[in-house]
Amino acid sequence: MLIAAAALSLLVLAMVAVVAGRFPVVHRMVYGATMVAALVLTGGALDHLTGMSAGEAPTTVLPIGLPWLQAHFRLDTLTAFFMAMINAVAALASLFAIGYGTHVPEHRRVTPLFPLFLFGMNMVLLADDAFSFLVSWEFMSLSSWLLVLSDHRSETNREAARIYLIMAVAGTFCLLAMFGLLSGYGGDYTFATMRHTELSGLPAHLVVVLLLFGAGSKAGLVPLHAWLPLAHPAAPSHVSALMSGVMTKVALYAIIRVLFDLNGGVVWWWGAVMMVVGAVTAVVGVLYAMMQTDLKRLLAYSTVENVGIIVVALGLALAFLDSGDRLSAALALVAGLYHALNHSFFKSLLFLGAGAVLGSTHERNLNTLGGLLKRMPITGTTFLVGAAAISALPPLNGFVSEWLVFQALFRGPALPHWTMKFGIPVVGALLALAAALAAACFVRAYGIAFLGRARSAAAAHAVEVNAPMRWALLALAGICVVLGVLPVVVSTALAFVVNPLIDVQMNPAAGMGWPWLSPTGSVKGSYSATVVILVGGLLLLAARFAVRVWGVRKLRRAPAWDCGHAEDIANAQYTADSFAQPIRRVFGSTLFAAREEVEMPMPGDMEPARHRVIMRDPVWDFLYVPIGVAVGRIADLVNRLQFQTVRRYLLLMFLTLVFLLILVAVRR
C-alpha cells in the first residue's frame, strides 16, 4: 500500500514538473519529493525483506492491461532486494539533483522525466505478468530515451538516443517472443502460469537465447553494448548515474527472474554460454574504458565490464544448479547479486562525481582536467573512494564481491562437464585480467582528472560543488565503505534473497562465524574485512608512531624536481592517451587495430609536431555498420517501386493475380 502510494506520487511529481517547470524552486522541490518517495520505496522493500520470513509474497491485481489477463503485481524477496537497491541509489541521485538539476542544459525537459524513469523501473520489478512487465520495460526505455534526448540540440546526442531506442525496441521484440514461448500458445501471460509450465528442448533453449539478446542488450553485453557508451554519457549526470548504476541492474533482474524463476529446467551449456559472454564482455569492456578520454564514456564502458562480471557469476550459478550443487549455486548467485549491489553504488558515485566535475568545469575530456583534488576536496576524495572500490581494493565493497566471485569460480572445476573443467580456468583468467585492467583504468582516470596540475583554465578555476551534491557523494562513499567492511551481514541478507530461487539456505560465515566471511568452510579460504581493517589501522598507527619517534617532523614546499627537467608547463604532464599507451600497445593493437601517427612539420615552419592515435571499433566495423549498409541498399532497391508507371503497377497486380491463380491450380 505504502509502496503503491509512493510509486503513484512519482507520476504526480512528473505532472507538477511539467505544469510548473518554469520556476527553479519547483525543480528542487520535485527532486526533493522524488528523494522522499524513493526513500519510502526503499524502506518498504527493506521492511518486506526483513519481515518476509513468514508471509507469502503479496500479489495485487489491477483491472487494466489485457482484458482477460489484467495487470498483476507481486513483491517477493528478489523484487524487494532490487527495489531497495534501485530506490536507494535513486534517492541519493535525487539528492544530488536538488543541487544539480537546474544547472543541466534544457533542465525543464529533464525534471519531469526523472520520476517517470524511476517509476518505470519500479514497475518492471513489481510486474508479475508478461504484459505489464513489457509495458513497464518499454516505459523505462522511453523515459530514459527522452532523458538522453534532453539536450537535443547536439547532433551526437540525437544520434545516441536514436541508436539507444532502436536497440531497446529490438530487445523488447526478443523479450516479447520469449514470453510468447514461455506462456505457450495460451494467451495467459501471468508469471504464475509460466512457473508451472515446464519448457524443454528447443523452446527452452530459444528462451535463453532470446533472453540474452533482449535483456542482454539492455544490460550491455558485448556485442550488444554499442548503444550504452553513447547513451549513458549523453544524459545529464544524475540520470547517467541511474541508467548506468541501476537500469542495467533491472536488465539483470530480468535475466535472473526468467532463468532462475520462470524457465524451469536448466541445461549446463546455458551457464557456459553466459560465462563466456560475460568474461568477454568484462575484458572488452574494460579495454574500451581504458582507451576513452571522455570521463563519462569511460565510466559507461566500465559499466559494461561490471555487467560482464555479474553475468559470469549468474552463468556459474546456472552451471552449479545443473550439476545439483545447490550450495555453490547459491554462493555464485550471492556473489553476483553482491557485485550488482556494489556496482550500483560505486558506479552512481562515480557518475555523480563526474557530474560534479562537469558542473564546475564544463569539461568531460580528461585531457583538459587535472589537479581537481586540490580545488574540489570533497568530490575528489569521494571519487577516490569510488575508484578504489571499483578497482576491487580491500577493504572496500568492490573487493568483497570480487572475492566471492573468485571463491565460487574456484569451485567450478568440481563441475562434471569437461567443457566447464577446462573453460572455467580461462574464464577466471579473463576475470582476473579484467580486474587488474580496471585498476589500471581508474588509476588513469583519477590520476589524470584529479591529480597533477590543471590542464585548462576551466580546471584551474574549478570550485567545490554545493551542499546537496556534496552530501549525496559523501553518502554514497559511506555506503561503499560500509558494504565493504560488513561483508558477512550483507551476504547473509543476500543468501536470504537467493534462498527461494535455489531453495537452499547458505551461510556466508559457515566456517568460523562472524566476522569471518567463509562461505565454503574455514579451510577453503576466508576473508574478514573487519579484522583486516582493524589490524591495518593498528599497523598504520604503528608506522606513524615509528616515523614520529625516529624521524624529524620538518617539511618543505618546493617546486617539483623531476630529475631536474621540471618546467612549469601543465602540458608536459602525462595525458590520458599517453598513460594508456603501454596497455594500448599490449592489448589494443590487435583488438582495436590501434595505430599511432606522428606528423613532423617541415623544417622551418612553426607549427608543432602532432601525435595522433587512430583506433577502430571492431563491433561497429563488423556488425552494426554492415547492417546499416545492407538496410540502405535494400531500401534503395525497393525504392524503385515508387517511381513506376501506372501500366507497370497494373502489371504487378496482374502478375500477383496470375501467380495466386496458378497457386490455386497447382494446389489440387
Binding site: 583534488l373 575528489g380 578504489a388 578497482s391 580491500p394 573487493f399 572475492w403 571463491q407 574456484f410 572445476p413 577446462f422 580456468p425 577466471g428 583468467a429 585480467l433 580486474a435 585498476a439 589500471a440 588509476v443 588513469r444 590520476g447 584529479f450 591529480l451 597533477g452 566456517g511 568460523m512 569471518w516 574455514s522 579451510v523 579460504g525 576466508s526 576473508y527 574478514s528 579484522v531 583486516v532 589490524v535 591495518g536 599497523l539 598504520l540 616515523v547 625516529w550 624521524g551 624529524v552 617539511l555 618543505r556 614546499r557 618546493a558 617546486p559 617539483a560 623531476d562 630529475c563 627537467h565 621540471a566 602525462y574 599517453s578 594508456a580 603501454p582 596497455i583 600497445r585 599490449v586
Partner: protein
C-alpha cells in the same frame, strides 16, 4: 592468546628483517660483480638517514602525496603479516587468503601509481602507466597461480596450502612446478627486479618503479623504500610457506616448533636472497614492452598448471 603473540612477533619480524634481506641481496650482487659492496646492514642506515632528512613536497602535490607513503607501507606490511613464516598459528591467517593478499599488494600499487601522478611531472606518469601495465598481467598470473594451488590443496589460504604440502599432499607435481615458476616470475616483476625493472637505475627509458617515487624525499621516501623491502621479503616468505613449508609450526603443534621454524625460515630467506642475486647478475634487463610477453608467459604457465591438474587427475 598465543596466536596474537605469534602474530605480533611475526609482524615485527617482517619489518625488522626486510632491510637485512635487501642488504644481503645487494651484498651478494656486488660480490658476484667483483665489488666489496656495503655491509648487509647498510639499508638500516639508509632508512634512518632518510628519516632524519626533511621531507620536501612539490607545490603541485595534494594531500594524497603525503598520505600515500603511509598507506603503501601499511598495506604491504598487513599483507606480510598474513603469510606464515615460521608458524601458521596466527590471528590474521584466516583473515585473508591469497586473493586478499594479491588485493592488498594491489592497494599499495594503486596508491604508488597515484602518488606518481600527483605531482604532475612527466616521469611520474611514465612510471605509473608502465607499473599498471605490468600489474595488469602480473595480478592475473598470481590469481591463476592461486587457482591452480587451490585446486591442488582445496584452499586459497597460504597457511592451508602449506599444511597440505606438509601432509605430503603435493609430491613432485607438474602443475605445482609450473605454478612455482609463474609465481617466481611474478615475484620478480612485482619487486621490480632485473630483468623487468632495475631497482638501482635512474635512467628515464628503463625505470618503472623508481620513476613513480622520484619526487619523494625524507621520511616519505623512507617509508616507500621500507615498503619495497618488506614486499621483497613478503614474496620470499610466500614462496617458502607454499613450496617449502618445512618447519612451519602448525596450530596444533607445541610452541617450540615455532623456534625451529624461525631458524629454518632464516635459512630459507638467505638462500633465496643469494639465488635472486645470482639470477639478477646473470641476466640482462629487457625492454619495457618485452615485459608484457614475459608476464604473459607467466599467466600462461599458471593456466597450464591448472589444466595439468586435470591431466593428472584423469590418469
Amino acid at each position: 592468546m598465543s596466536a596474537i603473540v605469534w602474530q605480533l612477533l611475526h609482524a615485527l619480524l617482517m619489518v625488522g628483517l626486510a632491510p637485512l634481506v635487501t642488504g644481503i641481496v645487494r651484498l651478494a650482487k656486488s660480490r658476484l660483480q667483483g665489488r666489496r659492496g656495503p655491509s648487509p646492514l647498510q639499508p638500516y642506515r639508509d632508512l634512518y638517514r632518510l628519516l632524519q632528512k626533511e621531507a620536501i613536497v612539490a607545490d603541485s602535490a595534494s594531500w594524497l602525496f603525503r598520505v600515500a607513503p603511509y598507506l603503501i607501507f601499511t598495506a604491504t606490511w598487513t599483507g606480510a603479516a598474513i603469510v606464515p613464516a615460521f608458524t601458521s598459528d596466527m590471528t590474521l591467517v584466516p583473515a585473508a587468503d591469497l586473493i586478499a593478499l594479491v588485493a592488498m599488494l594491489g592497494v599499495a600499487r594503486f596508491f604508488t601509481a597515484l602518488a606518481g601522478m600527483d605531482v604532475g611531472t612527466a616521469f611520474g606518469g611514465i612510471g605509473s602507466s608502465r607499473e599498471m601495465m605490468i600489474a595488469s598481467l602480473a595480478e592475473p598470473a598470481m590469481l591463476m597461480m592461486t587457482f591452480s594451488l587451490s585446486l591442488l590443496a582445496g584452499t586459497t589460504a597460504p597457511a592451508g596450502i602449506g599444511a597440505f604440502v606438509l601432509k605430503g599432499g603435493i609430491h613432485l607435481d607438474v602443475s605445482a612446478g609450473l605454478a612455482l615458476l609463474s609465481l617466481l616470475m611474478v615475484a620478480i616483476a612485482e619487486n621490480g627486479r632485473i630483468p623487468v625493472d632495475n631497482p638501482s637505475t635512474h635512467l628515464e627509458l628503463t625505470m618503472v618503479h623508481e620513476a613513480m617515487v622520484l619526487e619523494y624525499s625524507g621520511r616519505h621516501l623512507a617509508l616507500i623504500e621500507a615498503a619495497g623491502m618488506v614486499r621483497l621479503l613478503l614474496y620470499m616468505t610466500l614462496i617458502a610457506s607454499i613450496f617449502a613449508p618445512w618447519g612451519i609450526a602448525q596450530p596444533d603443534e607445541p610452541a617450540v616448533f615455532a623456534v625451529t621454524g624461525l631458524l629454518l625460515f632464516l635459512v630459507k630467506v638467505v638462500l633465496m636472497a643469494v639465488a635472486l642475486a645470482v639470477f639478477e647478475t646473470s641476466i640482462a634487463k629487457m625492454r619495457v614492452f618485452r615485459v608484457a610477453d614475459f608476464l604473459g608467459g607467466a599467466l600462461l604457465l599458471a593456466l597450464l598448471a591448472t589444466i595439468f591438474i586435470y591431466v593428472s587427475e584423469a590418469v
